[in-house]
Point group: C2
Chain length 82, copies 2
């Protein structure tokens, strides 16, 4: 099974990386860019696990390892089933 | 308009960050994790731009600024239309 997890800063948290990218794009003349938020994406291949177990394991590892729940949020989806 | 751009290493490129995450998960006992690939996600708010223009601008900035086309690939989707 393949899953995709998106981790991004909570909306209330400043995103200096995203701001830097936005400024770079403005410098290049892309004035239609109003805001940029940058985050991380993880594509994870799971083996020998049921969909039910994945529903438990994926949020668990997102919360424990992939994201910092104080300042980050995550969402996930199944890309490929077994 | 809001778009999401996913940037990840090409499949042929080694991903030491992803490997480190995989090893950390194995250490914690998550043995069902077979592979981890890590990438970047950008959520960009565009203003005063048609969908047609976005179809041109988004791949352009992805190729020029957000991704390194030598080692990275990108995909994108529209999250919210105006």
């Amino acid at each position: 099974m393949k899953v995709r997890i998106l981790v991004s800063l909570k909306d209330s948290v400043l995103d200096p990386q995203g701001q830097t990218v936005k400024n770079a794009l403005h410098t290049l003349g892309y004035d239609s860019i109003k805001d940029v938020r940058q985050g991380k994406v993880f594509e994870i291949e799971l083996e020998g696990i049921s969909e039910e177990d994945a529903e438990r394991v994926v949020p668990e590892i997102s919360d424990k390892v992939l994201a910092n729940p104080i300042i980050e949020k995550f969402s996930w989806q199944i890309l490929e089933k077994d």
